[in-house]
């Protein structure tokens, strides 16, 4: 009870103070128009903008006319004006006339009856086209009092300024497109408008670029780790020591037998609840590398075992040790054979980075998704697709060429049968002479 009263008292005290301060500003003795201020409702140039002007007329001033002298480059021909007048705290009807001189950029407001002294004046000048170049602009405002003759030098409010920024290039292009006839025609086709809206396209390209870099950074960081991990696992799988072999088998089967999506959730959500927490980027690389190592291990193992036993025997008969034979004879040949499949694996891994959208990593997919949900237009997805294709199409080509080269260099020697990730399509693998190269690819 007591507490409540205290709070109530504090509240009253505060409101009294606010009202007092307000009155102080409003009733400040003024002998010229004061408190002048100009604001704009846009933060970039090159678009229709609303200007707001606020001021208090002086105690001895009865204002009959105000001129806004817009600087060069401002387009005022369509400008409209709204005025709100307050005498003290009471609103009074303003009767005024608007005049516009598009040539000189002057917007004139004539008051009849004139604005009484000590009034608070709020004016909005809407639909003024601003120049694109950003910066701080000065807006000179002049006014005349009731009874001033035409020859009287008008009074001026100096130092009124406003500022905005130059819009980014894509914004400029997008606005330029807004005004193009063919763009309008194009957008009238519903499908094109939804998936390939030029304005959205030019906006999405720079915005998704960062996501593309993120996706690339993820896969480029993870893949080298995967190669080392995969090679190690492959040798473990071929080990003479059974427990080592089993360990590798379990790892490979668990990873290949579960969705990457699930693995991501285990690391991102599972580990967090146990208190282990790494930066998201690091976690993502760990998951990718862990996943890809298992696939590469099988690719490498199949590649190594596809090298004819005679190669190992020849190396041994020359006195080479197991590791020398591996290093100088078997691995170099394996690399050539698995290069196409490895490249395919890289492509798959790159596309898989999209799954990280689900855990909030701002890669290509999440960025495009955000863009789409903000704009309600699907063009950003098309842009994202193009960003993926910039990487994947050349690599798909490369895989084809590597396979042809391999087939030629081995003269039709039977090559490794490499098991691929079954959830993937074999579409990547269409190279000529395919049967003689990297072999039969499984698909469901």
């Amino acid at each position: 009870m007591f507490d409540l009263t205290r709070k109530y008292r504090q509240g009253t005290l505060l409101s009294v103070l606010v009202i007092f301060l307000l009155l102080l500003t409003l009733a400040a003795p003024a002998f010229a128009m004061s408190g002048g201020k100009v604001t704009v409702d846009r933060d970039t140039g090159g678009q229709l903008t609303r200007f707001t002007f606020a001021a208090t007329t002086g105690a001895d001033e009865t204002v009959s006319r105000i001129d806004f002298l817009f600087p060069e480059g401002f387009e005022v021909s369509k400008a409209r004006v709204d005025v709100t007048l307050l005498e003290g705290l009471k609103r009074i009807d303003a009767i005024y006339e608007r005049r516009i001189d598009p040539q000189t950029g002057v917007v004139t407001v004539l008051f009849d009856p004139a604005v009484p002294p000590g009034s608070n004046l709020f004016m909005q000048i809407r639909e003024v086209m601003t120049p694109i170049a950003g910066g701080t602009y000065v807006l000179p405002v002049e006014y005349r009092l009731l009874g001033d003759s035409a020859e009287t030098t008008p009074r001026a409010i100096d130092g009124l300024s406003f500022k905005y920024k130059t819009p980014p290039r894509e914004e400029v292009i997008s606005r330029w497109l807004d005004g193009q006839g063919w763009v309008t025609t194009w957008n009238n086709v519903k499908f094109l408008n939804l998936f390939l809206k030029p304005q959205q396209f030019v906006r999405a390209v720079p915005l998704l670029f960062a996501g593309w870099l993120m996706s690339l950074a993820l896969v480029l960081s993870a893949f080298p780790i995967s190669i080392i991990g995969g090679l190690g696992t492959a040798f473990m799988k071929m080990s003479k020591v059974p427990p080592v072999r089993w360990l590798a088998s379990i790892y490979i089967n668990v990873i290949r037998g579960t969705p990457l999506f699930l693995q991501i959730f285990v690391v991102f959500i599972g580990l967090r609840t146990t208190g282990l927490r790494f930066p998201d980027f690091v976690s993502a690389i760990v998951v990718l590398a862990f996943n890809s190592s298992a696939y590469l291990a099988e690719i490498f193992r199949a590649g190594i075992q596809s090298i004819s036993k005679g190669q190992f025997e020849a190396a041994s008969s020359l006195g080479m040790s197991y590791w020398q034979a591996m290093r100088y004879v078997i691995i170099p040949q394996t690399v050539r054979r698995v290069l196409p499949t490895m490249t395919s694996e890289f492509i798959l891994l790159f596309k898989d980075t999209a799954l990280f959208a689900a855990v909030g990593i701002f890669e290509l997919m999440l960025r495009s998704q955000n863009f789409v949900s903000r704009s309600g237009n699907l063009t950003a997805y098309v842009v994202a697709a193009l960003y993926y294709l910039i990487i994947t199409i050349p690599l798909i080509n490369l895989v084809g060429r590597l396979e042809v080269k391999l087939a030629q260099s081995e003269h039709g020697v039977a090559a490794p049968t490499i098991k691929r990730r079954d959830r993937r399509t074999p579409a990547l693998l269409s190279g000529p002479d395919f049967d003689t190269t990297a072999a039969k690819h499984e698909s469901r």
Partner: protein, 244 residues
């Protein structure tokens, strides 16, 4: 009598339940060319592969001079340096040129310098008549050329003994001659050789001793004249009758 280069004592080898070698004894003296004949499945290749331990004997002893290669803790790689082997399927390293093939083990196993290995490779390739093919990859060479490179590769290691495992069997007839020519030249130079082959002409002309194997044992052995012109064993007679 001097110490034999290769000595095989009571050699047995089984693959699972299948006993391929059932007690083989053989001694090869320095400079001898021992030609091993026999029907397929008689164990002659397996015996040869036991000599450089590509197959591990089930029991028995295999000696290279005074080293037992199948002894517990023997440094197999070290012994193999001194045993050259040439395979039916050539087994050249496809990612290296002819010269690269001949140089690799010299560099990595014997630790020879780049220049020395290259010089020896050139010499050996010249010896097998392939100087002009030094920079070719195996896929650019004919079977006969590949096999001669394989011989050069083995010779570059300065082996004490050379093993030839049906080295002409995979070749087209017109390419066989070149390879045999190289082997003859080698024999004339005094190289100790163990040769598993079906080339009777070679066995008769070049062999200092012919060994006939069947069913995992040595059935008959002697000079080429003895074995070819006057075989004592029925199985030898039968085999030679089928061949000629």
């Amino acid at each position: 009598m001097t110490q034999p280069v290769v000595r095989i004592v009571s050699l047995h080898k089984s693959f699972g339940a299948l006993e391929v070698l059932k007690g083989v004894d053989l001694e090869v003296q320095r400079g001898e060319v021992v030609v091993i004949l026999g029907p397929s499945g008689s164990g002659k290749s397996t015996m040869l592969r036991c000599v450089n331990h590509l197959e591990e004997p089930t029991s028995g002893e295999v000696w290279l001079q005074d080293v037992q290669i199948n002894a517990q803790g023997a440094n197999v790689n070290k012994v193999r340096e001194h045993i050259g082997m040439v395979f039916q399927s050539f087994n050249l390293f496809p990612h290296l040129t002819a010269k690269g093939n001949v140089m690799l083990a010299q560099r990595k196993v014997l630790g020879r310098s780049e220049e020395e290995a290259a010089r020896i490779a050139d010499e050996q390739l010249a010896k097998v008549g392939l100087s002009d093919r030094a920079d070719h990859y195996p896929s650019q060479l004919s079977g006969g050329q590949q096999q001669r490179v394989a011989i050069a590769r083995a010779l570059a290691m300065d082996p004490i003994v050379m093993l030839f495992d049906e080295v002409t069997s995979a070749l087209d007839p017109e390419l066989v001659r070149d390879v045999l020519e190289v082997m003859k030249e080698l024999a004339r130079g005094g190289m100790t050789m163990l040769v598993v082959t079906h080339e009777m002409g070679f066995a008769r002309d070049v062999g200092s001793r012919v060994v006939f194997m069947d069913g995992g044992v040595i059935v008959e052995e002697g000079s080429p004249e003895q074995v070819f012109d006057n075989p004592q064993n029925d199985r030898t007679k039968d085999f030679l009758g089928h061949i000629s």
